[in-house]
Amino acid sequence: MENRLRNILIYGFGRMGLTHFAILNSLELDFNFTVLDTNKKMVAILRKNFPEVTFYTDENKLPQKPFDLTLINTPPHSHKQLLSKVTKRGDSRIFIEKPFGGHLNYSSNENYENVFIGYVLRFNPCVQWIKSNIVVSNIVTAQGQYVSGTLEKKPKGWRNGEYSGVLNEMGSHIIDLLNYIIGMNNHKVIKSSMKSVVSDVDDIVEAELQVADKKIELFFNWVSHETRKPVFEITLELKDGSRIVFDQQIIRITKDNQLVEQITAADLKGTVPFYLRGIDFTKQMQDLIGPADNLSTMKEALTVNRIIKDILNS
């Protein structure tokens, strides 16, 4: 693969920054990495351990020359401000982790074509199958849920504030998938309920929306102790009475309670040159340095944020 994006800047070297760095680094495409993280103690350790990477803790000391690719993996409250800086500098392609500022970032009219948002579940092979095989106009209702045991104790810092909560952090994935598959413009929130269990913000959320002629039901819970790994599930009901239920690994199509077809991740045989955390993570990075034809656009991510805002405010 020809590498046009050689100089890469990564803002934030937490879990997501590390994951993206490790995947890109493994694609063996001769990248030059620069990392900016404001945690001075951590950067001191990183400098010692990754001498081939250039680390900064101060934004003002970054080179002024535009980067070929910039990945913003910082907490959501800094997304808008960093986007403004990197577009001003002229960085060629920009990737911002979901939820692109969350529900507090919904009103921007900007729509940069070189900015992409990290909704990684789009790259799951089952989701890709649904996207390619289901006719949107046949869908009557959709239900989406995301359940995880992400929070066991009250989190510290921004994760216990208005930029966090299950809707911004987990629900945004499902809303993005529904937006990606069926389109969620012109939504109306019919009803919603929220509970704080562990954090001071929303930990369990239920909502019902109307999107054109489609009814959408949502359920999110990130304090489920029954769940070892995050589990999402989407159910689509079609005009002909068939029902499609899918998650990360399996698609089941039924009609009149009879199984019509079952497709598993094994049938779809997704493959990547380097695997870390899931096929979707590598495929997302391949799309980012390649055609960028499945990544969430800025406009799509703002639609997701507006839906989250409307659920929270309803």
Binding site: L151, K156, A265, A266, D267, T271, Y275
Partner: protein, 278 residues
């Protein structure tokens, strides 16, 4: 080829059907049921069992005794515990957790080195010390989970994996690396001249090519080649997606030293074992 009982069924892990995983976990809702299942499996001829260092796994290895003729394959760390820690308190909390919770002796030796040098290699023996119970019989196998092996490899720090191998050996155990990128791992370990004599590399291999990376054909070549390390096949039944007799025939054709599989039914242990050993 030795046959090892996997532990995914005990902890609700099924890579194809997440709901099935959760249902099966409910069948093992207390530690006695897990221990009893393992002992039954060993009694009918399994060569050993795999156990992760999660809360229950650590306790089982700390409190229970198993036949010394059988092998214990223990995997570290329990990645979700650390992922949650990072979610709640940030990346630096990981480092302080490891330093605070390891033994005084390990801390004096490696902890001091870690603080003075800031080199992550000094974290490796501390992590091994923290995650492996003292009661784990010497000669057992200690593996690094694939999420860590593959992350470290992706970060370009293959030397940390050689420190892991050495740290495990120093504690009297045999080292293992679980990976979903075995070909890249082998190349990188060989490139740095690592001693791989007693190492086991554990990787996905199955006849339907599910979660087999980079692809089924290359993994078959890898499995059949001669190496100085031992090879363990996992996900051999593709989490239930593959036909069992066809999967067994496929696995038997490969040049593997070990196979690990999980099931929640003792009769399946028996039939899979007979198929694989015949």
């Amino acid at each position: 080829m030795k046959i090892i009982l996997g532990d995914n069924q005990f902890f609700g892990i099924n890579h194809i059907d997440l709901q099935k995983g959760t249902m099966v976990k409910q069948e093992f809702d207390n530690q006695n049921k897990i221990v009893s299942f393992i002992k039954d499996a060993l009694n009918i001829g399994m060569d050993g069992f795999m156990m992760n260092s999660n809360y229950q796994g650590y306790e089982i290895i700390s409190k229970e005794t198993f036949s010394s003729e059988k092998e214990i394959h223990y995997s570290i760390p329990y990645a979700h515990k650390y992922a949650n820690m990072v979610n709640e308190n940030g990346m630096m909390s990981l480092l302080s957790h490891v330093v605070k919770n390891t033994s005084m002796t390990s801390n004096i030796i490696s902890g001091t080195k870690l603080l003075s040098s800031r080199n992550l290699k000094n974290l490796v023996p501390l992590a091994v010390d923290l995650e492996v119970p003292k009661q784990l019989p010497k000669g057992s196998y200690v593996y690094l989970q694939n999420i860590m092996t593959d992350l470290v490899m992706g970060l370009g720090r293959i030397d940390l994996l050689t420190y892991f191998i050495d740290s495990v050996r120093k504690k009297g155990y045999n080292p293992g690396l679980i990976t979903l990128n075995p070909i890249k791992l082998r190349k990188e370990l060989e490139d740095v001249g690592a001693n791989l004599q007693d190492l086991i590399i554990c990787f996905n291999v199955n006849n339907v090519g599910f979660n087999v990376f980079p692809n089924k054909q290359e993994i078959e070549k890898f499995a059949n080649a001669q190496h100085s390390f031992k090879k363990m096949g996992m996900s051999v039944f593709a989490s239930g997606a593959g036909n069992i007799p066809a999967s067994i025939n496929y696995i038997k054709e490969l040049n593997l030293d070990y196979v690990v599989f999980g099931t929640s039914r003792i009769e399946n242990v028996q039939s899979n074992l007979s198929g694989l050993k015949s």
